[in-house]
Amino acid sequence: MSAATPALVPLRVAAGFVVGVALLAVAPWILDFTPYSHNLVTLAFLLISGAVAWNWMGGFLGQVSFGHAALFGMGGFVSARLLLSGPVPAPLAWLVGGLVAGVFSLGAHPALRLRGPYFSIATIGLGESVRLIFTYWEDFTGGSSGLSLPIDPDMKHQLYWWGLGLAAIVVGMSWLMRHSTFGLQLLAIKADVDAAGDVGVSATFYQDLVFVLSGAVVGVSGGLYASYFSFIEPNDMFGFDRSIAFVLMTVIGGVGTILGPVLGAIVFVLLRQYLLASYPDLYLGLYGTLLIFIILFEPLGLAGLLGRLARLARSWRAPAAEGGTP
């Protein structure tokens, strides 16, 4: 799977991907989803898209953003405004929301030359100022009382497939990024931004590009989210907690991996839905402990853990043949 081999998508990967997506697309009928499960999986798709897109910045480029809620909220409010303004088809509104969020993310361009903690702190500052300003901006966001969209149960039902489509596209993009020379350059920037420049990689260009892509996807998922909940409010959409959620999902799942953010988002939904409702006193500590353990013992998160288990299982099956290779 080296980048030096032709970058065509291997048949096995493509087949697995298509089968997986197709299975999920027909799952509501096969598994006879209750409306609740249906909605929950839809939500998982939206979170997956957001987490995967965050991971392009945080994992592939190594720029940990604590301000992605700004882009999420932007996408959500632009598409909500469009949907409220007249008979705009919802997908168009989401797309426009995403595009605006993508362009909006360029506002962070000056911060992109900062690296490491400096960048992270700058994104906190950006995110919080955006939140305050947009909460104050009544005409656009409805101020602190937010915006309500008309209730449309059919639309909410269909969001399952829209969400699946978005998640599939985004995961596919992740795979392509990872296994192309494009991703190789992102990794080079992550490793050493100056050295990357010295071999001709334009860090500025790639960081801008990835940030715009990430912002656009997060924006689209924000738009879908607005349609899903029919009510959005700036303090929630732009909130610091939401930015943190992107970080938590990705890091717990496995930062810099393809599968990690997907796992992380699913675990996030599962935890919130089943554990937290019954053991509310423990959820912060649970996330905190997970985070600590992952940073100290398994930097690749759940994805890394699964990889480890898989290798362990393999070496168990063939103990004699290939013991000892890492």
Partner: protein, 247 residues
């Protein structure tokens, strides 16, 4: 001699009150190896950073193939054909040796006729790292990492290669091998080279001409033999420095 490939005019750089480089001129002809020597803090690495675009000069010009390139960003200069290596090697630790080179091969000289993914293994072969292609750089010896640094620079198909102490720090056997590699780069690939080096025997034997810097100024320039006889150089550098004779 025809028009120089690279010419530097009155290049200066100040950091606050400190004048790190003071009105330095130099010219590099096609296919030439120019050695740059001088005591620590003489401004050698600053000179490289200015030419390669890592730093912005305070004043002065750089011309490459007759066109002004002063202050252009590093990644754009690489595409034009000027590339540098670092004294302290900086491989991308999270990429394999082959991938390290592939990244570099993606950019660099537009006149390349071979696609990046085919060029990278050839370059590795050229520097003698072909058998290490799948490893991560952390497993290489220092000499190996220096070769990787060279390979990465070469993968961009440079016209001008700025080598910052590629030989210093490795054991004598490897030093000889690396010096031979530098010569092969010029002889077989036709790349013009400016090299900063503390290892005197290597500089003296490889360089066509040598430029001596001290306190940010050029104090001498000429063939190795001329420079060694220059009284100013002897006083400023050879006479006082112990490093001059160290391997």
């Amino acid at each position: 001699m025809t028009a120089p490939l690279l010419s530097v005019r009155a290049l200066s750089k100040s950091f606050g009150g400190l004048r790190a480089l003071d009105a330095v001129d130099l010219e590099l002809a096609a296919g030439e190896i120019l050695g740059v020597i001088g005591p620590n803090g003489a401004g050698k690495t600053t000179l490289f950073s200015l030419i390669a675009g890592s730093l912005q000069p305070t004043s002065g010009q750089v011309h490459f193939e007759g066109r002004p390139v002063t202050g252009r960003a590093a990644h754009r200069l690489v595409r034009g054909g000027i590339v540098r290596t670092h004294q302290i090697v900086r491989p991308f630790a999270n990429l394999t040796v082959l991938e390290n080179v592939t990244v570099a091969a993606l950019h660099g000289n537009r006149r390349a006729d071979v696609p990046a993914r085919y060029r990278a293994p050839r370059v590795l072969d050229f520097v003698g790292l072909a058998d290490r292609a799948g490893q991560f750089p952390g497993l290489l010896t220092l000499a190996g990492r220096k070769r990787l640094e060279l390979a990465r620079a070469l993968a961009t198909i440079p016209r001008v290669l700025l080598l910052d102490e590629v030989i210093a720090g490795v054991n004598p056997t490897e030093a000889v091998a690396l010096a031979a590699l530098v010569r092969r780069i010029r002889d077989e690939l036709g790349t013009s080279i400016i090299m900063i080096e503390h290892v005197m025997p290597a500089v003296m034997s490889l360089s066509d001409r040598v430029l001596v810097l001290d306190h940010g100024r050029k104090i001498a320039q000429g063939t190795p033999a001329e420079v060694v006889r220059d009284p100013g150089v002897i006083e400023a550098y050879l006479g006082t420095s112990t490093e001059a004779t160290a391997p």
